[in-house]
Amino acid sequence: MKAKNNSIRLPERLLISRSYTTSESNKTGSWRYLMPRYYEKTAPCSVACPAAEDIGRIQMLNTQGFFKEAWDTILVENPFPAVCGRICFHPCEKVCNRGRFDEAVSIRALERFVADTAQRYKLTSGIEPMAFTGKRIAVVGAGPAGLAAAHFLHLLGYDCHVFEALPEPGGILRWGLPRYRLPLAALQPEIERIRNSGVSIYCGQAVGRDFLHSAGETYGAVFMACGAQRMPLLRIPGEDLPGISEGLAFLCSVAQGGGPGFQGTAAVIGGGNTAVDVARCLRRLGARAMIIYRRRREDMPAFAEEIELALLEGVELLELYAPIRIEKEGNGLRLTLQQMKIGAMGADGRMRVVPDENRIRELTVDQVFKAIGFEAAEPWHVPEAGAVSHLKLRQAVLTQGANSVPVVYCGDPVTEIQSVVHAVASAKEGAMALHVLLTGGTAAVAETLAAAAVGPGGSLSMEAFLKGERLNRSSHVVAYEEINIDHFQYAPRMIQPRLLQAERVASFAEIDLKISAGMAIREAERCFNCGLCNQCDNCRLFCPDLAVRQEDSKRGRRIDYDYCKGCGICVVECPRNAMVLEEEQDS
């Protein structure tokens, strides 16, 4: 080649670097010292849920319109989605990572939507129980704990007979929860599903203490799930006067037929959900209702949202008043109340209250309702104190009864919090423990249950216990900082449609209205699906080396380690932390 200005000929071929050798001959995987891999982790909501519901996966299924699959995913951990979707205090939502981004996902409303959809289309669960073990188990009490125990024991291959003293099953769900929170039409199909799965429920069949001795002749084990129904005494003068009733008995009579019309003024003593329920039922019957509570509103054990709704309905709240005396006055009752004030912080972390000198207030009402918590109705409903043979679990107690028949105590008397979802968790733990005990002995219980734990909170997964796919996940709980929020857009939390405020006290109709499938899908799409792969394909799209390959498998893709350099981009761009980058192991 020679340069000459006037008559330069253009070269025939371009001199550029161009290679027809495939770049696949350069196996860049040999450069790798960090290795990405798919590794699903644990979402904080599923840890906070006492029933360990697989919430991230449920929402993923909801976004795809797979409502039946979402329903089955709930049922394996909790037989009461229509109930919990309405009345659960949703600890899951408090820890939702989305809450740090904009607002928590409305998990409870979605649970109700899934359950209502299953009921509307009369779906049957696709969960297959394990093979029949040949063993029959007696369950005492058909409340949430007893029914849940029967559900889980049935899944584990046992034949269950449930004995209920009252004429209908459901316990507190049927008799204690007002219809405007839990309509019978929502509860009934949940119970029917358990019954139809093969559980025998015998109503009007009270069992006595001697049953624990004779059960061994017929049953391989006994489940005690009697709940807590007896109200402790106020221990003040005048509490036995006529016109003073127990809150739960009142709710029960309302549940049976609407209860008596009531025009006067009623005082409700207590700060739990029962106190709030009683007051709200009284408003619906036409009464003026006052809740008298010895601490402050923020100290009330009742769910904050329920208190809020009660006040909107016209319930009055007298905070920091403790009743010290009740007397008859004409046709009514005179309450003497001691004004309380905030004292020091108690050992339990709650502020103590102490009398505010001699400040007294008197109040005349037509009726008084006591709603100050519950304890077991009979001493034999709870495990015998101090017995060495007890295996005390987190939410249940396992003992060897007479004739070496195992007895499991679950539900209110042994759970840390008296709630439906705790009763479910307790029944699940008891059922798992009993199954291990019967198949592998006492020594194996702790270890086997630990393997089914979801995160560090002690919630247990039946799916993991049954060696399902959840067992393959890391117990690492995904933190908000581990979510790649660049891949999410702000979207407000759904607003629960409700009856107009003016309509609420006019009847016992359910306050929370149905939501549409479109609304449910949009809400479910807000879920980060923390730690779970939802097939978004970011790992493949962002891989600079095309080292994430599509394949015809359940995951749909795999990492080609021949070419993966371990740059970690896939792990960073995974919006939901379903991957992990680890140091390469020497091979």
Binding site: M1, A3, N5, R9, L10, R18, S19, T21, S23
Partner: protein, 392 residues
């Protein structure tokens, strides 16, 4: 067909007639009218091209590189800061031998912020391997754009069509828009020499070690030199079809001129009038317009300037610490001639300041009075500046 057109739209009409296949650009004053018109044409189907929106000029040129590597005829446009942002990929385009055509509207670089005419933006990219063609009128803008595609695709080097901000980009002039048939005759569809093909996959522009890199660069040098004769050849074709010709340089009354002004861009038009005025008063002066800056037309410049008594180069640009960039090139071109005129460098019109007949009169006076050129440039029209605000 003659139309009164903005310079920007003269570019757009040429791109339409060139049947460009891929366009990508990022808006920047004073270039925006070019791609606005083109995006309208893409949207309404007037031209069947893909218009790719991008987030920066760097990406716009990256898109051009990708598209040109698949054998497409490509076009982009930019100005000033936008061109500076493209710098890395300017080198890449030429090294990859891609025939990309770009309209570059000369605008001053910031700070201080200035959107007006100044050539320093394009001239500071002189070593990137792009052919640069400077235009004087709206008609020349349209014609040069058509020539640019023909030239780029013949030598496999990218070409910049350079036009002054506002004086050309936003000024309406009568422009003869040729027919599609005429343009098709001059500019047939691209026959790409680089064309990625999924059926026969290859990798482009990978590692080139010392044993080959130098030869690759030498070939670019050779084709850059060949571009001089290629341009001449294509201008012959162009004249035959359209009846117009420009030349790498264009002399105006240089034959007997004792003093020759060297200009580029729109300053040339004012200089033509100035020369006519001065000739009427007996001054023997002429103008040499430089259209082709890269490759620099050394032989042509020598031929027209060697017999002058004095040469004055007017630069609307400046290289700090050296001088006007055209002046440097002209001096270098004349160096080595046994008999050569002294070259005086003048700086005028930076940041869009008008270069008037009076400015040119001052230049002529200086040329007549000065004996020998100073290495320093002579700045025309500098004013006393009254500073306000705190002293610092």
């Amino acid at each position: 067909m003659k139309q009164v057109l903005e310079g920007s739209h003269a570019v757009a009409e040429a791109v339409r007639l060139a049947k460009v296949q891929v366009i990508s650009a990022y808006p920047i004053t004073p270039q925006t009218h070019i791609v606005e018109r083109l995006s309208d044409y893409c949207a309404d189907g007037t031209i069947k091209a893909r218009f790719l929106r991008v987030e920066s000029e760097h990406s716009a040129l990256a898109v051009m590189i990708g598209a040109a590597s698949t054998g497409m005829r490509t076009f982009t446009a930019t100005s000033s800061q936008g061109l500076a942002l493209m710098h890395e990929l300017l080198h890449w385009s030429s090294g990859a031998r891609l025939p990309i055509v770009m309209a570059e509207v000369n605008r001053a670089l910031a700070p201080g912020w200035n959107i007006w005419a100044d050539q320093t933006d394009s001239l500071s990219q002189r070593d990137t391997g792009w052919i640069q063609l400077y235009c004087e009128t709206g008609q020349e803008v349209l014609d040069t754009t058509l020539l640019a595609f023909r030239l780029a695709e013949a030598v496999n080097l990218p070409v910049m069509v350079v036009l002054d901000a506002f004086f050309l980009s936003h000024t309406y002039e009568p422009v003869d828009i040729p027919s599609q048939a005429q343009v098709d005759e001059f500019l047939p569809p691209i026959i790409p020499r680089i064309q990625l093909d999924p059926a026969n996959p290859c990798a482009l522009n990978q590692l080139s070690p010392p044993n080959i890199y130098m030869e690759m660069r030498y070939q670019i040098h050779l084709v850059m030199q060949a571009a001089l004769s290629e341009l001449e050849k294509f201008e012959g074709d162009f004249e035959r079809i359209f009846g117009r010709r420009y030349g790498a340089v264009e002399p105006f009354l240089c034959q007997d001129a004792e003093i020759i002004l060297v200009t580029s861009g729109t300053i040339t038009s004012t200089s033509r009038q100035f020369v006519l005025d001065q000739r009427a008063q007996g001054e023997k002066i002429g103008v040499l317009k430089v259209k082709l800056f890269r490759p620099f037309p050394v032989e042509a410049v020598r031929g027209y300037l060697k017999n002058a008594r004095k040469v004055g180069v007017i630069d609307r640009n400046f290289s700090f610490g050296a001088g006007g960039i055209f002046a440097q090139e002209v001096r270098a071109a004349l160096y080595g001639l046994a008999r050569r005129p002294p070259v005086f460098g003048f700086i005028a019109g930076l940041g869009g300041r008008d270069v008037t007949l009076e400015s040119l009169g001052e230049i002529l006076t200086r040329l007549k009075t000065l004996k020998r050129p100073d290495p320093e440039s002579i700045w025309i029209g500098l004013q006393e500046v009254q500073l306000a605000g705190p002293k610092s």
